[in-house]
Symmetry: C3
Subunit: 310 residues, 3 copies
């Protein structure tokens, strides 16, 4: 699959072959990153300009894309807070905004709290648009960096048992991870309270494509089988009230006691920021990959930029 000139809106755009190609490209990007940190600027994106349009603030994701573009020698125009600082929000359709910004920049990175918003802007853009999160819907570069981290750490994706712990109902992270991992021969263990179970449609799709799935409420009993322990935050903004959020926040906390039950070659993922799902005492454990994920995220976004800009 050739991504040149394409928008990156959804994890559904990727199949097994295109994922492996992207991960191999991300590995090459790691070399460029190393050289940049050592003082040698890459110029793959010479002359190119990226616009970041964040209708919902996310410093982490914005920094990651802006790092990616600049490590490749490109340049950036940035709005970290479109809702707060742009008069457009009062007047302009997303389509007009897309058309206008695409007259200035060569690629657009956009985040917005509403599902489908990025697709709308992209529909009128003359340049590729990368979805950096459209509310509860998609955040493809996050899912790609998660699966890239597994591929890079374990050396493979087939034959792994993937555990996902946390909010499997509202969390877009586990949904997107499943969307990508379904292309591989993985076994899944979903760990969540009954009220936050993985949606039936996802479970059904995974089963129909031949994947073994176990659902449990008990992390301690299942952690020992996992090659990958993918934790997610219970996100307050996905609940209707603070009371309902409080009911589930902190129901799974990964600490050293739990880690003793985990495989010696397991890896621990988390999209960050964490609240209390992972105790800081775990940070020193060599199986922990969540800070390494940040660097991998830069490499994946570099790979995406190189792919769409050719």
């Amino acid at each position: 699959m050739n991504l040149k000139g394409q928008h990156i809106l959804s994890t559904k755009q990727f199949d097994k072959e295109s994922l492996i190609s992207l991960f191999q490209l991300a590995d090459k990007m790691q070399e460029i990153l190393k050289k940049s940190k050592a003082g040698k600027q890459d110029m793959t994106m010479e002359g190119k300009l990226m616009a970041t349009l964040f209708f919902e603030p996310s410093t982490r994701t914005r920094f990651s894309f802006e790092t990616a573009m600049q490590r490749l020698g490109g340049r950036v125009i940035s709005n970290a807070d479109m809702m707060g600082t742009s008069s457009w929000k009062k007047h302009e359709t997303l389509e007009d905004t897309g058309k206008v910004v695409s007259q200035m920049a060569d690629v657009i990175v956009m985040r917005h709290p509403e599902a489908g918003s990025v697709k709308r802007l992209a529909s009128a853009s003359d340049v590729p648009v990368l979805n950096a999160g459209d509310g509860p819907s998609e955040h493809p570069s996050q899912a790609l960096l998660d699966v890239y981290t597994i591929w890079k750490s374990k050396g493979k994706l087939d034959g792994l048992t993937i555990g996902m712990s946390g909010d499997s109902k509202y969390g877009r992270v586990p949904h997107s991870q499943c969307d990508l991992l379904k292309h591989f021969d993985c076994k899944f263990i979903f760990v969540s309270p009954e009220a936050l179970k993985m949606p039936e449609a996802i479970v059904k799709e995974l089963r129909e494509t031949g994947h073994e799935i176990r659902e449990t409420e008990n992390l301690g009993e299942s952690i020992g089988e996992m090659d990958v322990i993918a934790c997610t935050r219970i996100q307050e903004e996905r609940f209707s009230s603070e009371a309902e959020y409080k009911k589930y926040a902190g129901v799974y906390v990964l600490d050293n006691t739990l880690m003793q039950k985990a495989k010696t070659d397991a890896i621990v993922l988390h999209p960050l920021p964490r609240v209390n799902e992972i105790s800081p005492e775990v940070d020193k454990d060599p199986r922990v990959k969540y800070f390494e994920q940040v660097g991998n995220g830069v490499a994946i976004r570099m790979a995406l930029l190189v792919s769409v800009l050719g």
Copy 2:
């Protein structure tokens, strides 16, 4: 007229000769833009630093200037929301801010809601200051890109009939356009409701400099005579109450029916964002230039930067 080292505060700084020179320079900038998009970075502004000080948010205008500077190889320090994020507003005079920022940057781009504010800051600056809009007063680079778009599309400015539709009373866009077009042999048709008519002083000056003017409330009857259909938004912030704004918003809507009455070689301008002055169905009409204006705006701002920094 040599603009090197000058502030650009007002459309009144330009005469016929300097306008044509600037437009010719902007045409050269279009070549640099094309090369930049194709991956070849221009370095005309090597080593130079531009500061953007936006006391009133305007992502479109800020992006345009920052794109211009970076396409030329310069660099940017940026404050998109001086009122919201700068502690200066509480304490510091605009003069002190100008003096201070000019010790860091080589050129300053400033927007502010108050008329005369940019001139005040510029009075103490050691480097050129470009006015990116000072409230109801001036926004010279916008007027320049409008007239540049006419010049570029029609191949000339003399002998044209310019129609201006919308708020001719409060809108700084039509006022500034008149300030520039008065240097050319144009005929004007001002289309606005009685309460939003072009100020008498502007009409008088145009008549005294030999221009034919017609004022009308009817767009449909006059559109057929126009070589240029310059639409503007009825801006809510120029009215004292929402009720008064609502009375005039949407009084002229350019749609395909109206466009059928327009000349086959007419062009349609709008500074954007539009609310409902132009129906989206018109966007595909080849006579539409409002998205092309965005790219022309980058070229004009590149030309201004090159002119003042020499």
Copy 3:
């Protein structure tokens, strides 16, 4: 003292020798600045990326660091308003933020309203962190640029009489200046109202290290003895009520009448922004260095970046 790979958190990290080395390096940076303004980009920081994390807005300080990095050929990712635009603040510890951002950038510049906050973030960072102000506590680059300006203007630091006028109690600027100047053979005159006197601990330390100190409430009587007249603002945010602030604001105002009593080769410093501590009529006096300090601040920050990144 080798600063390579070090955090710059406090003025207490510097001794006489390291200060002079830094000032000599800053002088070299002035040459790079001159070349940059003349169109020749330095590339000492080629490939390097600086992140600015401002949890408290300060356009002046942020611009100065971003100017420094870019004049050296480095690049920047920037958050001017972490409290307003980052969702991290709700969830993430400063330590996690430090760890995360240090996976992306090569150096971090941070400002925060709480004392000790920058040290906390730095403790988990994998890259050098520069303190750009942690509330009432420290702002080392400001003190360094102040003393650098004295060194540069007077050609020496030993043998000078340093006057400090304003809020000596809450002001971190005079405290930090003393922390650096104590390494040199200076005499001090502290001018402040009784309620805003220099803390006893600082006076004691200076006396114990052999410095002569005079404390007075009268600027007019003492100004004639000063080689350096270092003024500071009475900062509203350091007082518990507006009433208490108003009591002291404007108690010392440097004007031309006072300047007539000053030495002909004295110099006047102020960290800016000023409110009314210095009358604008003084600006033209050749002894005034407060605008020159801004340019010196860029040079000092360039020197710090070069020192920590090697």
